[in-house]
Amino acid sequence: MTDELEQFKHTFFIECGELLTDMEERLSALSVESCDRDQFNAIFRAAHSIKGGAGAFGFDPIMRFTHALEATLDELREGRLTLTQPIINLLLKASDAVTRMLDGEKNGQPMEANFGADLLQQMQEITRGGAPAAVMPVIDAPVAVSTGRRATYKISFTPEPHFFDNGSEAAPVLRSLAKLGTMTLEVATLSLPPLAEMQPDTSYFSWTITLETNADEAEISECFEFVSDRATIIVTKQVDEAAVQAEMAAPAEAPPTETAAQKPAATTANAAASSGNGSIRVDLDKIDRLVNTVGELVIAEAMISARLRDMPPQYAATLQREVDELAQYTRELQEAVMAVRMQPVKSVFARMPRLVRDTAAQLGKDIQLVMQGENTEVDKTVIEQLADPLTHMIRNSIDHGIETPDQRVWNDKAEQGTITLSASQRSGRILIEISDDGAGINRSRVLSKAKQKGLIPADATLSHEEIDNLIFLPGFSTAETVTSVSGRGVGMDVVKRNIEGMGGTVYVESVEGQGSHFTISLPLTLAILDGMIVRIGAEHYIIPITSIVETLRPGHEAIHGVNGHSDVINVRGEIIPIVYLSQVFNIPDANHDPDQMLMVMVESGNQKMAIVIDELLGQQQVVIKSFEANAGSVQGISSATILGDGKVSLILEINDLKDMCRGHRPPTPSPTHEMAEAA
């Protein structure tokens, strides 16, 4: 196979991936009550495209399989076959089979020759089409670009008002037209009067039809034979276009000898197929390079600004305006480049309805999935890593959260449980929430299980929230038996670690008997951060602005010691624990003014804490640099950046701080006055 063909193979697999995702989404959305022609058409087109490409690359088994799939969809869209639940299931399984067959080819390990034979047979029986295999490579030949005279016609079909009088109907006419090729139509309903004035035996609609076909005008006119005297029919032939409504089938069926002819056809086809609304496909590597370079640009610009600040004013003034402009453009460029990598979470959410359907069915539960905010955009790398945790959490809700229909009825709930999956942007972060109206977390069971496994000391007393979040501890599972769905006890802690690895947090809120609500909070982007630079002792650190709630300078009467080993502060009635970084990080010569300590209140998940600092140095946008590869991970530090002066500055990992505080006593002499209990 030539190199060019190999390159197209790669593109083919990517596009097939998209087509299959789309197909699965549509198949999942099909239901026996609401199934319209458009859906069938769309699924048909997807199968058709895959078939064509498979043919071009010689994947015969895939071609045969998708042909049967295509034939089944054809029967459905023509109305010759009625959609039933078993058929929906068969189509879903078929789509899975195609995915696996394509994956096999992609990985160089094709499935065995009779893979999916039973599904193939079932589809063939349904379509009563006999032997699609024999017909298969030939069947589309008449559609081939080289020999057929494929053209596009615009047909305007306007029945007269008394059209129905002799029993004429528009639908059969349109159906027969559709058989000639690929048809799209628009109906004009302007003539339709309000319901009160409408006469049911008067025809009000007219149609504009676009038909791509090999048939000539005579054949098209034949469709209108019986109605031509009662309707105005105008057929105009459009200019011959090789790539109108391009499908990969087109280049695939061109004569195989001319790779040169294939190449432009394939590229226009691919370009047209993917440029439905003017988009292009770009290698992720190119985007990463772009992001990195822009990141370095931001750092360089910060250095220039810093130098300018240090220059004597009379020289600085000459440059200030230009440097300000530079800063502004750099910021704009940065925002634009970050936006390039953002994608709607839809692609991750799309797999969930199917997951819910299958898992609920497996467990005998009735559950509907409501999704909101699917168009919320997130960085591409985040999307990829989101799939696993999300899948697990939804499985968890289905398995442990939502009760069986009987239990629900017994508890005066609707038989059908609801899981709501939503995504939203809030203050520089993405929030993904999964809530269910199930049984909530069984706190007594969780607590006893945790004590039993030694995850917490036997005499520990915990708040409701703390108990709920025990489920995120490693090795935790309250399932009595390990089901294939969940319950192996490796779940929630891996979920938490995955999410924290993305720089996010996850926590759960639950009401027993009513349901649970999981919240995942992720940074909008993984590369650039708005940070607040603070000084403690001689060290500088950066706190992500999105974590900062407020800054405080309380008098020492607001600070209370609790049980002799931790300090808290009362902020407008809320008790917030105090973190002495000088202690936790062993920073020498931190000089906290005992009378008026300066603190930054931060939030991690739904927990707040107040970090004591010596000085606030200012806000800056910084480029995140990972040092893990070279220096390993450091508790309390998420990453580093390079400030305008060229020095490395560390970015705090707020999530870690709470754990790091345990066991640290406040500095002595304590600036607080001890009280037996906080107010």
Partner: protein
């Protein structure tokens, strides 16, 4: 270790106090002067911090502190050797760099196994050149990432 001819290898030699050490030349990325490093919290004493090496973050380890526990009082005359080992980059703070040694395999002797001082774990061999004995450092387990993490957790 790359071989030049049948069994010759090259090493970069450096000194800490009077003792001489060396590392395989192919692991050496560059040699810089000392520049202030940003300390990492709760890091072992010999971990002096991280520096900005043309955009990437590189940790600097104080070899004297690693071997003897005594911190180097760094100044402009000290040298940082940047090594690249298995996709990790890190720097060694040493007193001075001397020369490049080209030796045959027969000049490399195994490290003495009875030695009990801390440095013994990191010595991969001894180079005998005329009157000099130069210790070959085992760069792989000098600063094992996991070891650093474990120590951090103990300290915390």
């Amino acid at each position: 270790m790359t071989e030049l001819s049948s069994d010759m290898s090259q090493f970069l030699a450096f000194a800490i106090d009077k003792a001489e050490y060396c590392v395989p030349i192919m692991t050496v990325r560059e040699i810089n002067g000392w520049s202030p490093a940003t300390r990492l919290p709760n890091a072992p004493e010999y971990m002096r911090g991280v520096i900005n090496l043309r955009g990437s973050i590189v940790p600097i380890f104080d070899l004297r502190a690693r071997f003897t526990g005594e911190l180097t009082t760094e100044d402009k005359t000290h040298v940082v050797i940047i090594l690249a080992v298995e996709a990790r980059n890190f720097g060694l703070l040493v007193d001075s760099v001397s020369d490049i040694l080209t030796v045959g395999a027969d000049c490399i002797k195994p490290a003495p196994s009875e030695s009990t001082d801390a440095a013994a774990d990191f010595i991969g061999g001894l180079l005998m050149i005329e009157e000099r004995i130069v210790a070959l450092l085992n760069v792989h387990n000098l600063f094992d990432l996991n070891a650093v993490e474990t120590i951090q957790q103990e300290v915390a």
